[in-house]
């Protein structure tokens, strides 16, 4: 018998306490993403590729190809807006492994004024509710750079646990650094929602 939520009421799965998930017009989202990409610190926290710049047009084409080209049952993408001022502050993508019911999540808060204030944590909480309550996921996984402790703490607050690390696989600023792997199981998330001790 699977663990169940003690209290369950249908909620707006796309609205949290600080943020909401949205779909944006590709032109608009591409403009914001191109601007965020000019912030190399953001790029380094979000990605392990070398910082590169792309035109609004290129990013728009990429968004259209990946998110607008028909429904794919394994791929879900959202933009993130702050509730207080409705500003577009970031994005979140989910890859659902259909056979094994595992979700991989990637998130980026591009607006640095919104870093360290709980927006990313709130978006991750929404992502977990959506994954477990709508996609039928049994676990959710993510990867984070060891040099990004702010993100690591946010993921812990949302309920993720450190599961392992790949030692020194990333070279940044002349230093080798680890990749950390985190995950949360459905049962653990249900327990959190029910207020049970872990």
């Amino acid at each position: 018998m699977q663990a169940r939520l003690l209290e369950y009421e249908m909620k707006d799965l796309f609205r949290g306490e600080l943020v909401r998930f949205t779909a944006e017009e590709p032109e608009f989202r591409a403009r914001q993403e191109a601007r965020w990409a000019r912030d190399t610190e953001f790029h380094r926290l979000a990605d392990s590729d070398p910082a590169q710049l792309y035109s609004d047009k290129k990013i728009k084409e990429w968004i259209e190809k990946n998110f607008e080209d028909g429904f794919k049952p394994g791929r879900y993408s959202f933009s993130i807006r702050a509730l207080e001022d409705d500003k577009l502050i970031g994005f979140l993508g989910l890859w659902l492994n259909l056979i094994h019911s595992e979700v991989w999540v990637g998130i980026g808060i591009g607006e640095r004024d919104y870093w360290g204030k709980g927006y990313g944590t709130d978006a991750m909480k929404l992502c977990l509710r959506y994954s477990f309550m709508d996609l039928g996921a049994q676990r959710v996984s993510l990867g984070v750079h060891a040099y990004n402790p702010r993100a690591f703490r946010a993921y812990e607050k949302a309920g993720f646990r450190l599961e392992g690390r790949t030692r020194q696989d990333i070279m940044r600023e002349g230093k080798r650094t680890d990749s950390l792997w985190m995950g949360i199981l459905r049962e653990e998330w249900i327990q959190m929602q029910n207020g049970e001790q872990r």
């Binding site: 019911s101 996609l135 039928g136």
Partner: protein
Amino acid sequence: MNDVLSGALVRLSAVDPDEFSKAFTGWRRDSEFMRLMDAGPIRLGSQKDSQKSIEKELEDEDLNQHWFTIRTLADDKLLGEIGLFVVSWPGRDAFVGLGIGDRDFWGRGYGTDAMKLILRYGFMEVNLSRVTLTVFEYNPRAIRSYEKSGFSHEGRLRRYLNKDGRRWDLLFMGILRDEWLEQNR
């Protein structure tokens, strides 16, 4: 770990558009077969026509469709087709369709064996939660075969079909993962 694609009488094999369209064009001339397979008015068609539509079906290389041909273990003869189509991933429900085209193999356990294989494939490879099928009231041989494979009766659309001047029910059958595991321990 067993070979999940081989049973007691048959094995599941890849759909070869050339081979399968030739076989299907032959089976299609058997109007009884077509009536048991399909609720629509029966039609005839060329091999080229079948091959085109089979090739089109195979273009979608996604996880929603798991489609096989059925061959005898004894002499590798192609005798039918079976396919799982995932209807809902969150619900992990798939629809199954089965046809034994060669009437020499009707009523001899070949279809039941193929269904058992696709259920094992569905529950152990695709990790489904349930498998659903529909069958026509005027096909008691298939109904018995599905019962033997482990399906339960779940409902019916009354007088849904119009064949031979009378109306017939469309039956829904299904099997849950837990039931399959219980039957196959």
